[in-house]
Symmetry: C3
Subunit: 322 residues, 3 copies
C-alpha cells in the first residue's frame, strides 16, 4: 500500500483512515478547528493555497461531494479545475497517460472519486513526488474525509473519544463511510464502536475490525453517546438482501422511540443525503439531537485541513483571514 505519510511522518496523500497514527488524526482535527472559525465569517477565505492547482478528478458524478471539495479549495484560494472523466473524450488514452499529463501541467493535488475500490490508491501509486492525492470516495472501500468530519463533529459535541459508545447503524456491507469511520474512531481511541445491521448487510469479517455486532436496534443503541445512521442504497431492496422499505424502517429505521434507549444527550449523525422514512424518521433527522447539518458545515473545514496539510502548508501559526 502507498504510504500516506512522507518520511517525516507528515500527510502527503489521504486515501484511507486505516492505519493513520493518532497524533496525525488529532492534528487534522485541530487544523480543521482553526478553519471552522474562518468559514463562519463573512470573508471565508485564507490565502494558504494561493497559486496551487487542485484538480477534481471525478470518474463518477457526485455533485454534492464535488461541491464540498471545490468550496474547500476555493476558500484556501487554490485554483480548482473540475474534470469529469466520464464525459471526457478519452480518445483511447489510458488512465496513466491522463494522470501523467495532468501532472505535467503542474497540478498539485488530485481529488479522486471513483465507483471502484482502490482507484485513489492506484492514482497515488503512480503520481510523481509533487502531487498529493485525496480519496473522495472509492467504491465500498473508503471515504476518509467523511469519516474525519464525523470524528470532528463528535469531538465538538463530546470533547473526546475515549469514554464514548458509538453505534453505526445500517448497510455496513456496502458503506465506504462505515469502514472509514471504524478505522478513524479506532485510531482516535473511541471507547466502543458498535455496528447494528441485519446479517445480510454486514461483511463477514466485521468483528476483526474491533467492533461489537448487534442485529437488534434497541440492544445496540442502549446507552449510546453517538448514533450514526448510514444511507440505505435503495437498489439493495432488489438484490434480495432486504425484505422491503417499510420492514427495514420498522426494524432499523431510527425513530424517537428507538432513540430513547440511547443516552439522553446522544447525538444523531448521517453522512447524507438522507432517505426520510427509510433509515431515519423525519422527526429525528430534524430534531434537537440531530447534528446532520453541522456535519456538512464541518465537512468544509475538515477538507480544508486535509488539503492544506497535504500540500505542505503545514504552518505552525493559525491561518489569518485574507
Amino acid at each position: 500500500m502507498t504510504r500516506q505519510l512522507d518520511t517525516d511522518g507528515r500527510l502527503r496523500h489521504f486515501l484511507t483512515t486505516e492505519g493513520l497514527p493518532r497524533n496525525l488524526l488529532l492534528q487534522l482535527l485541530d487544523t480543521a478547528e482553526s478553519f471552522a472559525g474562518v468559514i463562519g465569517k463573512s470573508v471565508k477565505k485564507v490565502p494558504l493555497l494561493r497559486g496551487r492547482t487542485v484538480i477534481n478528478l471525478f470518474f463518477e458524478a457526485s455533485t454534492r461531494t464535488r461541491i464540498t471539495f471545490e468550496l474547500a479549495a476555493k476558500r484556501l484560494s487554490a485554483d480548482v479545475l473540475n474534470v469529469n472523466v466520464a464525459t471526457t473524450t478519452v480518445k483511447g488514452e489510458s488512465l496513466l497517460d491522463m494522470l501523467r499529463n495532468l501532472e505535467a501541467m503542474q497540478a498539485d493535488m488530485f481529488v479522486v472519486r471513483h465507483s471502484e475500490s482502490g482507484t485513489a490508491e492506484y492514482v497515488a501509486q503512480h503520481v510523481g513526488e509533487s502531487v498529493s492525492v485525496l480519496n473522495a470516495g472509492d467504491g465500498w472501500h473508503a471515504h476518509p474525509t467523511q469519516a474525519m468530519l464525523d470524528a470532528f463533529t463528535i469531538r465538538r459535541h463530546k470533547g473526546g473519544f475515549e469514554p464514548l459508545v458509538i453505534a453505526i447503524v445500517g448497510d455496513v456491507m456496502h458503506s465506504r463511510v462505515a469502514r472509514s469511520q471504524i478505522h478513524a474512531l479506532g485510531g482516535l481511541g473511541a471507547g466502543e464502536v458498535r455496528v447494528i445491521a441485519p446479517r445480510t448487510l454486514l461483511p463477514r469479517d466485521i468483528e476483526s475490525l474491533g467492533v461489537r455486532v448487534f442485529h437488534d436496534m434497541r440492544l445496540g443503541l442502549k446507552d449510546a453517546d453517538v448514533v450514526i445512521m448510514l444511507r440505505l442504497q435503495r437498489e439493495r431492496m432488489q438484490g434480495a438482501l432486504l425484505p422491503s422499505e417499510p420492514e427495514y424502517f420498522r426494524l432499523y429505521g431510527l425513530t424517537e422511540d428507538k432513540l430513547a434507549v440511547a443516552k439522553p444527550d446522544a447525538i444523531v449523525m448521517h453522512p447524507g443525503p438522507i432517505n426520510r422514512g427509510v433509515e431515519i424518521d423525519s422527526r429525528v433527522a430534524d430534531g434537537a439531537r440531530s447534528v446532520i447539518l453541522e456535519q456538512v458545515t464541518n465537512g468544509i473545514a475538515v477538507r480544508m485541513a486535509v488539503m492544506s496539510m497535504a500540500l505542505g502548508a503545514r504552518r505552525e501559526t493559525p491561518p489569518a483571514p485574507a
Copy 2:
C-alpha cells in the same frame, strides 16, 4: 409572500420587481451605475464580495443567463459554484434537504433558475437568515434582474421615467420578462406603459397591472419613447395560439416602417436572444436606435448591484477598483 426587504428596508432577496419601493429601485439603479464604470475598464473587478460564496442553482439549462450571473459574481471577487440540478444525481434527496445542505456549506447566495413559477420564492421561504436568494427566471412569473437592466438602459438614454411612453410588444402571456418590466416601470413611475399583442398572447387580467392594451402595432407604437420587443417562443406556433411566423412578423414584427410612428429618438430593446425575421427585422435589431447589446452590458452591472446590495455590502462609499 416572502419579504424581499429586511426589517431596515434593505434588499435581502430579489425575487420580483412587484411591490418594491421606488427608493430601493432607484438605489439599485444608482449602484449599478457605479459598477458600470468599473466594468468598462480593463481591470473589471472589485473586491466587494471577496470570500463570499455564490451558488448558481440552475434547474433548467440557460447558459446565457448563467454566464451573466457568474461574470457578475466573479467581478465582485466572489467564489462562484455552478450547480446544474437537472444533471445532478439527486439520489432521492428532496429540494429542501438539498437547500439545507448547500446552506450548511455556508453559501451566501443562491441564484435560482427554474422552469416553474414560484420556485425562487419557495427557496427564499426556506433558507436561513444568512442566505440571499436571487430569481434568475422562474417559469412565466418573473425575471427581475432582466427588468432592472431594462430600466437601467432606459434611464441611461432618457434620463428618467416620468414622461415616457413605453411599449412592450409580443408574447406578454408567456413572458416573465414582461411581467417584471411592467412592475418595475410602474414602480419607477413610468408615464405610460403599453402592451401590444394579439388577444391570444395576452393574459386576461393584464389591464389590472395598469397598462394600456393595443392589438395594432401602429396604434400602439404611436409616439412611443421606448419599444421593448419580446422574444417569441417558436413552440407557441404549434399551440394554435398563432397563425404562422410570416403572418406574426407581418402583424407584430418590428420593422423600420412600423417603428416610424414612434418618436424619432425612440430606442428599441429586446431581452435576447432575438429571432431575426420573427419578432424583429434585422435592420432594426442592428440599427442606430437599437440598444439591445447595451442591455447585455448593463445586465452585468445591474446583477453586480443586486448581488452586492443583497449581500449586505451596502457601503456608502463607491467601490474602488481592486
Copy 3:
C-alpha cells in the same frame, strides 16, 4: 484573412502560425520562457490578467485542451468562463448574435475550439476592437499554440532552429498540428523540415510548404535532431486510407530500432494523447529521449505567453510572482 497583428505589429489574435514574423515568434518564446519559471514554483500565479475575462468557447468537447487554456488563464489571474456551445440551448440564436452578446459582457478574449476549419478566423473577423481570439484547434486547419509549445520545447533542448533537421511523422493530411508546426518552424528558420507518411496521408501540395517528403521511415529519420510523431486518428482505418493498425505500426510506428538512424541526441515529441503501439512504441514514448510530458508542461507557459501578449499586457518587465 484577418490580421493577427495590430497596426503596431503586436499580437492581437492568435489564429495560425502561418505568416507570423520571426521576431514575434521569438518574442512569444521568450515570454513563455519567463512564465516557465513561474509555473515551476509552488505559487504558480502572476497578476498580469487580473480583472480580465477569458471565455473558453468550445464547439467540440476537448477536456484536455480546455484544461490547458483554463489553467493558463487562471495562472495569469484572469476570470475564466467555460462555455460548451454544443450543449448550450442556442434557442435559434446565430453564432454571430452569440458572439456579440458575449462581447457585450465585456469579455476580453475568446478561446475558440471547433471541428470546422476556419471558425477561429471567422470569429476574429467579427469581434470588436477590444476582443482577442485564440485558436484552440479548428478542424484540419491549425492548432497554433500546440505548434508554439513544440517550438518552445525544441529550442529548450537544441538552443535554436537553424541547424536542425526536424521530421514530422504520420497523418499529416488530417493534422492541424502538422500544418501549424510546419509554418512555425519555417518562420523560425528551421534548417530542414521533413514529413514522413504514406501517400494516402499526405496532402497533394505539401511540398509547396517547403518540406521534404519521405515515405520511408528509415530514410526520413536519418540524422534527424527532432522527431515529431503525429497522433493517428483510428477512424482513418475505416476510411480505406490505411491497411491496418499492425501494418501501420510496422511501417510508421516509432520504435527504438527505427529511431536508431536519427542523431544520437535526437528528441522525440508527440502532441498527445498518444496511441501506444499504433504510432509509437511505449519504450520510445517513455524512454530517455522522449520529451512528450515536457511538451505538456511547456504548453501552459506558451499559452500564458500568448494570452498575456494578446491582451496587451506587453510589459517590458518580466512578470513577478504574485
